[in-house]
Every structure is written in C-alpha cells, then in structure tokens.
Amino acid sequence: MTESIFVENLAKHFEKVEAVAGISFSVEQGELFGFLGPNGAGKTTTINMLTGLARPNTGAIRIGGIDCTNNPRAAQHLVGVVPDESNLYPELTGFENLCFCAALYGMGKSERQASARELLDVFGLTGAAKRKFGGYSKGMKRKLTIAAGIIHRPSILFLDEPTTGIDVASARQLRQLVADLHRTGTTIFLTTHYIEEAERLCGRIAFIVSGRIVQIDSVENLVQPLKDKYVVRISFEGVQDDLRGRLSESFPDLDFENLGQGKIRVEADHPVPVGPLVRVLEDCGAEVSEARRMRPSLEDIFVRITGIEAGAMQKEKEKMGAGR
C-alpha cells in the first residue's frame, strides 16, 4: 500500500456548525499535499480528526495503512503534528521542550539531546536554547513548535499553517526545510492560506470551502486551463461605476472581471492591448495608476473556483495572527 493518508466521506459537526461535510481524498506516500481554504473552512478540524485529537461523526480514516476509524490514536507513532497555535510548555526552556517532546516518542537521552541541538541550530534558536519558552517572541515560538513536531522524524507530518506569524526570511527558511523533508521521503499534509506557498511547495492541492472539497488536483493540472491565457490587472481611481459594460463594447474579445475597489482583471486568449485599454478607461474619467501583466497563477484558479478574493483572505489571517 502506498497511501499514507486515506480519508473517505469524513464529516464532523459541532452543534449547529458543519465543520467538515463529507470529504474524501488520499495522499500518497512521500507526497506533499496542500490543503487550502479560507478561515473556518474546516482545515484544522480535518487535521484534528486525522491525528486523533477529534472524533469524526462519520467517515473512514486510514493513516499509514492503519485503520484509525474506531481507534483515533492507532497511528500516532507514525505522525508528527505542528498545530496552528504554539502549545509547548512555557516554564521549560527551548532545549528542554524539544527533549521532552522527543521523549514522548521514546527517543533515548543522547539521541534526543543531539537532535534538539541540531534543530535549535537549524532554526537559529541556539542562542535562546536556555531561555524559557514563555519568554520567546511569537516567531520564535512558532519555530520551536515546528521543531518539536519533527524531532522524532515522523514519516507523516501535519503542518497547520506553519508560516503564519513569522518573518519573511524565516518563512523562506522554513519552506526550504519543508522541501528538504519532502525530498527525504516524509509525507507532508500542509494547510496554508498563502496560495503562492502552496503553489511553490505542493504537488497536489485540495481547495476546501465551508467543509467541502471543491477542487483537488495537481498544481500543474489546476493551472492548466489558464496556461494559455493572458491576464492583466488594472488599478484606477476616480470612477465608482462598473465600467465593464463600456469596456466590453470596445473590446468584445476580452473578458473583464470587476475585483472591486477600482481594480479590474482582464483575461484573453491573446496578448492584451494594454495601451488602448488604458485610453478607453481614461476616456471614462478614470485615472489609471497601474496596469500589470500577470502570469496566470493558482491564485486566479482559487478565486475563480471559490469566489473568494485571495488577497482578502490573506489580510484577514494576518490580522488574526497579530492578535495571537
């Protein structure tokens, strides 16, 4: 069997909320699988069910070939989890926290100390190794939580929004680490709201919205329909009205999408004539501040499938992240 994660018809509700509404998917051994969705889509709930922290209402789960449907904790020796919130022990130091987590998986003393030192080094926390976790900054906490999730070298790793709340350089470093883990054969289940991150790292992606998987495919196949498209994004000021009607009249072979707040997205099967387009807009009284040719990306697909503006999703998250 090469499936590391197998899920069939998994559902979970909390009183009135249908958090996960019957999802099915499987993740191959060694795959890096992305789980992408807006706030409250059911990502964390899914991870909790897969790792034995929550009991599904219906559905079947197999982790590493072990049937976990009735015994949610059966496969925990195979699994590492990095939760969405840092949950290590505030009164232990960084080093002690890592050693403790390794001990939970039965690692011997010299082995866990060596691994802890190595990971502290990888995450640039060696200087803070002897400081209490409670006194760490948010980003440092995040990094140590990730280190704690991989210290026992799990063959299946669940990462719940690993890069939320850490700086750009650390996020890049972390993505590198995830890619390395993937290369050495770890199966990775990654939830994120950074679409670009998912596109860069993941082999296959599932879009989840309101507890349902709306699309699941390889990144290549997902962007395929847009492969031969040309996309331009135009920002302008001074006009509140919807200009799409006027634009379609002048350019019947282009598709226009109103993104709101003075932004229009233009899509075509041939290169977009930006100059004439800007002139028409200016004739309508708009003051064009930017016109950008874009490579069609997963973000476009995400917006198209879910109807959710990706940038808006990201901003919401950052606000929440700041309050954590």
Binding site: G52, L53, R73, Q76, N87, L88, E91
Partner: protein, 245 residues
C-alpha cells in the same frame, strides 16, 4: 521500554515544574503543621493525645495535597493546549494518565509523612503498625489523586476545578471519620460516609496508629482499591468523551 521513557519524562517534568517548586514544598510542610496545631489546641489534652490526631491530619494532608495539584497538571495544561502534546504521543492512554497522576500520588505520600515526622519528636510512635499505616497512606494518596483527576477532567477552567474539589474535600473532613467517629454522625449522614473512599483509608490509619478501627483491614483495602479503579476508569472515559470529541 519506549513507553517507559515517555512515562518517566512526563513524571519528571511534572515533578520539576510543579511539585518541587518552593511554594508547593512549603505548602506541603505548612498545611499539615497548621492542622496538627489547630486540633491539638482545640483538644486541650496533653502531648500524648497527638497520636490520636495523626490519622486525621495525615488523611487531610494527602487529600488537599493531591487534589489541588491536578487542577494545574491536568486542567491548566488542557486549557493552554499543551495537553494536546500528550494526547498526540504514541503511548497507551492509561499509561499516559498514570504518568500524569503519579507525581501527585508521590506528593501526597510525601505530605503524609510531614505530620508523622513532627509527631515523632513529640510522642511515642513505637506502637504504630507501619505495615498497615504505609499501605493505607499509599492507597489514600492514589484514591485522592484519582478523585482530583476525576474532577479535573470534568471541568474546563482551573478555578472550576478548585471550587469543585472543595465541594468534596471539606465535607470529607467531617464525614469520613478523620477526627470524629462516624458513629457519632447523624443517622442520615452515615450512608454518605460509606460512599466516600477516605472513610476506609481513615479507618485503616486509626487502626494502625491506636488500634481503633471498625472494619477488617482487608475490606478497607479492597474497597479503597475499588474506588481507585472506578475513579480512574471514569476519568479516562470522561477524557475520551470530552477532550477527544
């Protein structure tokens, strides 16, 4: 072997971060001392009467020492989510909860010997049947710890755990024959006494210290064991139902 590494480290971590902290150590010393003094002054008798107070003070020390700790080691860790780490660990659930409670059991046993050591300086303890006393202390510590666990997993806030355990602890001081014989209680309270584990532990302690017990030791032990098993199983069931829901 692997399980025992986890078991030992969970226990050692709790010991270091909770039980061996100065406030807890001094609490373990002051509390039994205060009870001994209080009852000693109240009884107004000579120093030799201390021996009749030992069973009650020992039992109270264990009861308060153990139950108050579970609110922190379990309820608080659940609240700040670090308990999830333990729930994710690949060790049998029973072993995990034993690791989480054995610190409190040891703390309870240590608390019990504070009044004993004090009494050794003030009275003659040569007549104490240690072969009964020690098992009684251990079983009371286990039963009280599991009672604390039962409470700690039934609530979600630390203050609830504390309030809720006082609801059990204070009546137990008076209902379990620690300082006043159960026979002197009003008839309608007696069934309640026999529904509480501490009654049987106190009976053993009285028997061990001054020979005044009402039930066979074997029966006391058997009933205490039954209470322990029930409280542990019920707590586990509750965790599975509430925390892995």
């Amino acid at each position: 072997m692997k399980y025992w590494i986890a078991f030992w480290n969970i226990l050692a971590k709790d010991m270091r971060t909770y039980y061996l902290k100065p406030p807890n150590v001094s609490w373990g010393l002051i509390f039994p001392l205060a009870w001994t003094t209080m009852f000693f002054i109240k009884s107004g008798a000579g120093l030799e009467s201390i021996i009749t107070l030992i069973p009650g003070v020992v039992a109270v020390s264990i009861l308060f020492g153990t139950t108050s700790m579970l609110a922190v080691t379990v309820t608080f860790e659940k609240k700040n989510r670090s308990f999830e780490r333990l729930l994710l660990a690949p060790i049998p659930f029973e072993l995990l909860m034993l690791a989480k409670t054995s610190g409190a059991i040891l703390f309870g046993v240590a608390n019990a010997f504070v009044p004993v050591v004090i009494a050794a300086f003030l009275a003659d303890l040569s007549a104490v049947a240690w072969r009964v006393f020690v098992p009684a202390v251990i079983m009371i510590a286990v039963a009280s710890t599991f009672l604390g666990l039962f409470i700690a997993v039934a609530v979600s806030e630390v203050f609830e755990a504390q309030t809720f355990s006082n609801f059990f602890r204070f009546p137990m001081i008076f209902l379990c024959g620690l300082f006043f014989p159960i026979e002197k209680l009003p008839v309608f309270l007696k069934p309640l006494s026999y529904a509480l584990p501490l009654t049987y532990g106190a009976d053993m302690l009285h028997g061990a210290v001054h020979g005044g017990h009402t039930m066979p030791f074997a029966l006391d032990l058997a009933l205490l064991t039954a209470f322990c098993v029930f409280l542990f199983v019920a707590s586990l069931w509750n965790i599975k139902r509430r925390w892995i829901s």
